[in-house]
Assembly symmetry: C2
Homo-oligomer: 239 residues x 2
DNA sequence: TGCGTTATGTACTGCTTGGTTAATTAAGAG
DNA sequence: CTCTTAATTAACCAAGCAGTACATAACGCA
């Protein structure tokens, strides 16, 4: 009675349909993604030269052969993983709808978002660290990556302009530099947590410590940007 | 008249005295340092797994065997190089004689010094990046490294206390967090310059751009620390 | 239902690379 | 002056590892 409808016996997997839409016979795109996912872990964990193709293959549902079939060689795979990493964290800035907020609240939100977002994506951070060790050699040809990051600056610029138009923010500030500062604080928090906490203890990296840091990063940026006569707007922010 | 006081004939090298004090026959300490110097370049350039012992050996005046003789294995060498890196950049803070300056000037000087110092020691930065990729695994046993960094906090704490005593600085600031902030800005500037300038262009990393950044980092920290009613002390600082 | 193309499994290879063996020479102590 | 120990040389090795050869199965299409 059961399982006789087709003559082809390849539906053995239809029973295990708990996984959604799994062709189980051939699935090129699934294989690609599987490889990329595992490779991202491996590369972000061990770096380009530390990563092992055999290890990636072993943790994949597919084989080493497929890695070379789809990505050519180790560097090719690394490069695609790097792009993937940048792609995965892109453009959250736009969804914040900063335009709906007053400049101060918007900048505050942007800072906290960046801080939290970096913290939530350590794999991305580590990929960027690795790529910097390699002097950005594998990013040079990737126009994709460059384009992905322009929106961040633009959002920031809008906020900045509005704040200046309202007489809240100082003149002479550039969005690029401000982005650099916010990034620096948010990035370092993740990238150097290992050595920093080994040297100075882990107090800054507890949940409570991170909440405080996040707040203080936003505070720092606001104090940097605000005209002194508008400081009362954030004075409640201490702790 | 010259050089006949000793009967020992081992001064063959006195002829080639262009190099200072070079025994040329055997020089254990010199060999050690030679290895460490070359290894530092190699590790900071290529990371732990990317570095090649053969390459290090080739660029040394000595041989591969000597590396293993003195350092045991690759990780042993790496660990010593890491300690060396931390040692090389240590304790400049104390030589600043911050006590001789008023709190504002002292903090300003400390920020700029940290920024410039990091910038002047990219090898150190890269070693720390590499070690963070490895989750600080090789630092755990090194008490040396931990001790080397405590003075930075202490100097900062003194400045902070003085500033607060004078009513210049806000209350509720902790030296550790402040050190974290200064480090973040200074570290990121070097560690991520490759990817950042590839994405956003190199304007921030020209000599002029770096001077501006250095100034603005100090400015940012001061504005974070100062009580709003003392901002006039740094208002001349814009540009 | 046959056929070119895409995708995949198995087994293999050769170079790279961390690490070693064993013999040799210089330095220093007594 | 000798004898022990520290320093150094040169050749060697086995495992690790990126990359490949070759056969073959599934797919899309006519």
């Amino acid at each position: 009675m059961r399982g006789f409808e087709g003559a082809l016996m390849r539906e053995a997997t239809e029973v295990t349909k708990s996984k959604e839409a799994k062709p189980a016979v051939r699935d090129p795109e699934g294989v690609r993604r599987d490889i990329l996912t595992v490779a991202m872990e491996e590369f972000s964990q061990n770096g380009l030269s530390g990563a092992r193709i055999d290890e990636i293959a072993a943790r994949t549902k597919t084989s080493k052969r497929m890695i070379y079939y789809y990505f050519g060689d180790k560097e090719g795979l690394y490069q695609r993983v790097l792009e993937e990493a940048y792609g995965k964290v892109r453009g959250g800035e736009h969804d914040l709808e900063l335009d709906a907020l007053d400049p101060i609240a918007a900048l505050d939100k942007l800072c906290r978002f960046t801080f939290d977002h970096h913290r939530a994506n350590p794999d991305f951070i580590r990929m960027v660290m690795v790529e910097n060790i390699h002097h950005g050699r594998h990013m040079q040809m990737s126009k994709t990556i460059r384009d992905l990051n322009q929106p961040a600056i633009e959002e920031l610029e809008k906020v900045l302009r509005r704040g200046q138009a309202d007489g809240l923010f100082r003149e002479g500030l550039t969005p690029l530099e401000l982005h650099w500062q916010i990034s620096a604080l948010s990035f370092f928090n993740v990238s150097n947590s290992a050595t920093f906490s080994l040297i100075f203890g882990g107090d800054l990296f507890t949940d409570e410590g991170q909440r405080r840091l996040s707040r203080h990063v936003a505070d720092m940026v606001l104090r940097y940007v605000l005209r002194p006569d508008h400081f009362d707007a954030i004075l409640a922010d201490n702790s």
